[in-house]
């Protein structure tokens, strides 16, 4: 295996924790700015040039509050550990992305990725259920209902994509993310995976129209109703880090990362970030344009336009695999 120190550097710095936090906060600023512009507002302007440092200031303010305000029912230390574990899981899973200096791949690593991403989901669910507030419990139950459809859809999409390059390495998402240019067979599967994954990105990121678990005007912030200070900061960071990771995954899986360049070429990195911010722009445009769905509408949407398309992609990939 490669140098263990390099692996630790990757988990801690690039493309792990520090890079992911930086990307998450910059993405939060970008999202807020785009949504504000579309709603005829200014967005963040006060801290840093064009308000770029506003998410950093918000995070610092939450982490260094003078007094912790804790809900009577919540196990504060456990909740903080769970949220931290969620961020660390996402940071560690960046080792599978092609942007890592040493990208780790293995046969069947798609299941490793699916498993590691579950940490973040359990963090959101547990933190909501830990609180004595019924709004938090309701937010968590709504999140669980959405995840019950979104997560199988994500798993099927990833497995379908990994099936395409089964002959290189069996069910390896790392290899699938790094392959370029795409084959025709890949392109057919990717059309279905692309639509499904984009909806999953909105649902798992709790972005409109799927922001039902944290509906502020309806259930007072849902699972985050009782959170404040460092715990709220950690949960917000986890939320943004998950969105950033899924967007990066989308960039490589659907838009083929640096294609037509490679990551060895600086132009490849420019293309990757251009694609990343394009996806974020599209997500922000949807957030600014649509209203919130009711839970049963959201579940129906996810079933029809995400899970169904993932199943189609999986069946196509499986058929091609056995015909080949």
């Amino acid at each position: 295996m490669s140098n263990p120190l390099l692996i630790i550097f990757e988990v801690f710095v690039f493309p792990g924790f520090l890079f992911l936090c930086l990307l998450a906060l910059v993405s939060q600023w970008f999202k807020r700015k785009i949504i504000a512009r579309m709603q005829n507002r200014m967005g963040p302007t006060y801290v840093g040039p064009i308000g770029l440092a506003q998410p950093f200031a918000d995070a610092l303010k939450l982490f260094f509050v003078k007094e912790l305000v804790v809900n009577r029912g919540i196990l504060w230390a456990v909740a903080l550990f769970v949220a931290t574990l969620g961020i660390c899981a996402i940071s560690a899973s960046t080792l599978l992305l092609p942007i890592a200096p040493v990208q780790l791949v293995s046969p069947y690593d798609v299941f490793v990725l699916i498993y590691v991403l579950l940490y973040a989901i359990f963090a959101f669910i547990l933190i909501g259920l830990m609180s004595s507030n019924p709004f938090s419990a309701m937010g968590s139950s709504r999140y669980m209902a959405m995840i019950a459809i979104a997560e199988p859809a994500l798993a099927l999409s990833l497995v379908a994509s990994a099936l395409v390059y089964y002959n290189i390495l069996p069910l390896s998402i790392g290899v699938t993310l790094a392959v370029s240019p795409p084959s025709l067979y890949d392109a057919i599967v990717t059309i279905f995976v692309g639509i499904s994954l984009f909806i999953i990105l909105l649902a798992k990121g709790m972005l409109k129209p799927y922001d039902i678990p944290e509906a502020e005007t309806e259930i007072a912030g849902g699972f985050a109703a009782e959170l404040s200070g460092p715990l709220l900061g950690m949960v917000m960071l986890l939320h943004d880090a998950e969105i950033s990771f899924l967007t990066l995954l989308y960039t490589f899986l659907v838009l083929k990362g640096p294609y037509p360049f490679t990551l060895a070429d600086p132009a490849g990195w420019v293309v990757v970030f251009a694609k990343y911010f394009f996806i974020l722009f599209m997500a922000s445009a949807i957030v600014a344009s649509v209203g919130r769905l009711r839970i049963e509408q959201a579940l129906r949407h996810l079933l029809r336009y995400s899970l169904a398309l993932s199943i189609i992609a999986f069946v196509i990939a499986l058929t091609f695999r056995y015909l080949a």
Binding site: I87, S106, A220
Partner: protein
């Protein structure tokens, strides 16, 4: 650069990285966060916590309403076929049902005898 591992080693590497990072972050958090703590009751948009906690578990009537909502179509069929005011309608639905039950009972007794 791509390094190919076996799935177990990959799982081990990712889990170890995750845990080491989590431990360091949690320790760092405990060092920097404030020691001053204020405990509050649940935020319920101005409602009293006691009033709210009474309705935390569902009562009988919402459960009944939920069940009738779920079984609406089934109940409609039953109501229209049985609840007509004529006893013949009731018998015409119940006799086939009873026949099925008798057949199941006979079959069960034959099978049990065999055992």
């Amino acid at each position: 650069m791509q390094v190919t591992l076996d799935p177990f080693t990959l799982m081990l590497v990712i889990s170890s990285g995750l845990l080491i990072l989590a431990c360091i972050l949690v320790i760092a958090m405990y060092l920097v966060v404030s020691r001053k703590v204020r405990v509050t009751s649940a935020y319920l948009c101005g409602e009293d916590e006691k009033d709210f906690s009474k309705s935390l578990s569902p009562g009988g009537s919402p459960m009944y309403w939920g069940a009738t909502e779920v079984l609406k179509k089934c109940l409609k069929v039953l109501r229209e076929s049985i609840h007509t005011g004529f006893i013949d309608d009731w018998f015409s639905l119940m006799i086939p049902f009873m026949m099925v039950l008798v057949m199941v009972a006979v079959a069960a007794s034959v099978i049990m005898k065999g055992v």
